[in-house]
């Protein structure tokens, strides 16, 4: 079953007289539990594409359908709610809430969705264990390494059982060991939780681990390769 479908998606920025076609006619679809990398040189439109998929930005034309719901038909308040329930985000610079502990950061989105305390605790510990941070439950982000922070971010992205997780250059700020570790964890969770992971990267080692590699150039898909 398709979790995500993009049909001829365009995104054009009108910056000072010059029209920039950041995403130029992308058609893609993703199945459940895919582990896909979007690669391409800087400026090829990776981030823009992820923002469009994540409903953070609206396409100039084209259609994005998540689980049968056309994003362009949602009102902005509905879109926020839809995002919260269906999409997990992992950012390049972790973006954890500095004043909250690892546990509270993961719990936060479940709190927004009004999960009960028991459900929250169960899910939080399950996820922190899965990302190998059972011993850092009460640590603040400032007391953790970049790799640890990014693992908390992955746990947070998965907290509310989203349809898929979008990660924009998740390993860009990490050393190679932490990056490999993070990817392993992501792959494991992809398998265990049956969640689609879509991440952008230009790190060759990360690309190697992806099951599907989509290459973008000038906003167009130039190759879409599925590996076994």
């Amino acid at each position: 079953m398709k979790v995500l479908e993009l049909k001829d998606v365009h995104k054009t920025y009108n910056s000072s007289e010059v029209k920039v076609h950041a995403v130029n006619g992308v058609t893609l679809d993703f199945d459940e539990a895919e582990f896909a990398a979007i690669v391409g040189p800087s400026g090829s439109g990776k981030t823009t594409l992820l923002n469009l998929i994540g409903g953070l930005d609206m396409p100039t034309s084209g259609e994005i359908t998540i689980d049968g719901t056309d994003l362009s038909r949602l009102k902005s308040s509905q879109l926020i709610d839809f995002r919260m329930r269906n999409i997990g985000f992992v950012f390049q610079s972790y973006n954890l809430i500095p004043v909250l502990s690892a546990k509270e950061n993961v719990e936060f989105i479940m709190l927004l969705q009004k999960w009960s305390k028991e459900e929250r605790e169960k899910r939080t510990f399950e996820l922190l264990k899965a990302v190998g941070l059972s011993d850092r439950v009460n640590s603040r982000p400032s007391k953790m390494s970049g790799g640890q922070q990014q693992r908390v971010a992955v746990a947070r992205a998965l907290a509310s059982r989203p349809k898929f997780v979008l990660a924009d250059e998740p390993t860009a700020n990490l050393d190679s060991k932490s990056a490999a570790n993070l990817l392993e964890i992501m792959e494991k969770l992809n398998h265990e939780e049956k969640v689609t992971f879509i991440f952008s990267t230009h790190d060759a080692r990360v690309v190697k681990m992806a099951h599907r590699v989509i290459t973008l150039e000038d906003g167009k898909v130039v190759s879409d390769e599925v590996r076994e």
């Binding site: 953070l56 926020i80 709610d81 919260m84 950012f91 927004l112």
Partner: protein, 376 residues
């Protein structure tokens, strides 16, 4: 009644108030203003008593200064250094009949600095009112014939209003009537103290209906200058509050705008992962209110403590003291803050906080998550 007061040393014009000492206590506070250790309040059972003020005693030369062995002992008890005390004994048993004489003699003996530190202590210890001294009052009775009566000073009072002090002396109403050759007490003023100052106008209107030609006046009409001063004080008070609240509003707006600017990425992330506008808005509002309340509570406690301390010690406007007293205000001000003022201020602060947090909160709402996430 206007009268002439004489002592063997001086004469001054005064206004004699014939009072019922006990009932007077319920409408004026003269009885609370007695100088400690200088006589007592008139008593209806003791004949021929007069209560005069410190200022009046000074004019009538009843305010004496005298250094005795007791005075020196008392000063020693108050930790006045020996080298100061050593210069006092040769003044012993000399009676100074006015503060000025006494000050002049002290000025010759001590340096300015010594006087600044110990002058007041020495003067207070050496002060000796001539209680029980006779004061002769001369006034004209109903027919215009001068009559004279001898009274003894029973006590000294001191209010903050020098003008009033200088003129007002109090005797028993019945004795004043007898002096004027009347059997009945001559009532020419009935003072009514209301529980609520704001009721003055209403009560006046009601009394006018039954006053049969007697004039009824509120405190505002009796003391227009004090009323004006009071009105100005209230006006200035609101102006100050307004200015302070304006500063507070700017402070809050500035702090919260900075907080939003610093946390743009965090807010972008929160919006991205699904925090809706309502939540973002209430988050900023709540933060502002908590921030303000923390500040307000700290400020209130500090303010209350300062007022408590100053309420005991008083703020002495030494430089402007005479000017203050001439206007009828005390040179030493004892600040008092009522609970409703505290409540009013707290409410005002909270309202100001809420209003001034609207702009920063709106600004946070206008953030675009994509752009917010991109900021460094």
């Amino acid at each position: 009644m206007v009268a002439m007061a004489n002592t063997p040393w001086a004469t001054t014009g005064v206004i004699v108030y014939g009072i019922d000492p006990e009932r007077e206590k319920s409408v004026t506070e003269i009885w609370k203003k007695l100088v400690p250790g200088a006589g007592e309040y008139p008593d209806i059972s003791r004949p021929g008593e007069v209560l005069i003020s410190d200022k009046c005693a000074e004019i009538l030369k009843l305010k004496h200064y005298i250094i005795t062995e007791d005075v020196i002992d008392q000063l020693r008890g108050e930790k006045v250094p020996e080298n100061i005390l050593l210069r006092l004994p040769d003044l012993k048993e000399t009676r100074f009949r006015s503060p000025k004489d006494f000050r002049d003699i002290l000025k010759m003996r001590f340096t300015r600095r010594e006087l600044d530190r110990y002058g007041n202590l020495i003067a207070a210890a050496a002060l000796d009112y001539r209680i029980r001294n006779r004061v002769l009052l001369t006034l004209s009775d109903g027919t215009g014939t001068p009559v004279q009566g001898a009274f003894r000073v029973c006590g000294i009072y001191k209010t903050t209003n020098t003008g009033f002090d200088q003129a007002a002396i109090f005797v028993n109403a019945r004795e004043l009537a007898q002096l004027c050759g009347k059997d009945e007490i001559m009532t020419h003023e009935i003072a009514i103290l209301l529980n609520d100052i704001k009721e003055a106008g209403n009560v006046k209107d009601k009394l006018e209906g039954i006053s049969s030609g007697n004039s009824v006046r509120t405190w505002r009409e009796l003391a227009p200058d004090a009323a004006l001063m009071n009105d100005y004080m209230i006006m200035y008070y609101f102006m100050f509050i307004g200015i302070i609240m304006l500063a507070l509003a700017f402070g809050i707006i500035n702090t919260m705008l900075m907080a939003i600017l610093e946390r743009t990425r965090e807010l972008g992330m929160l919006m991205a992962i699904g925090m809706n506008r309502k939540r973002i808005f209430s988050m900023i509002m709540l933060e502002t209110i908590f921030l303000t309340l923390t500040g307000a509570v700290t400020g209130m406690i500090a303010g209350w403590a300062i007022v408590e301390v100053l309420g005991k010690t008083g703020i002495h406007f030494s430089g402007w003291g005479e000017g203050f007293e001439a206007m009828g205000f005390a040179a030493r001000v004892y600040p008092v803050v009522t609970p409703d003022f505290f409540i009013f201020t707290t409410l005002l602060v909270v309202v100001t906080a809420i209003i001034s947090s609207l702009w920063p909160a709106r600004k946070a709402l206008k953030l675009n998550p994509v752009e917010a996430l991109r900021t460094e």
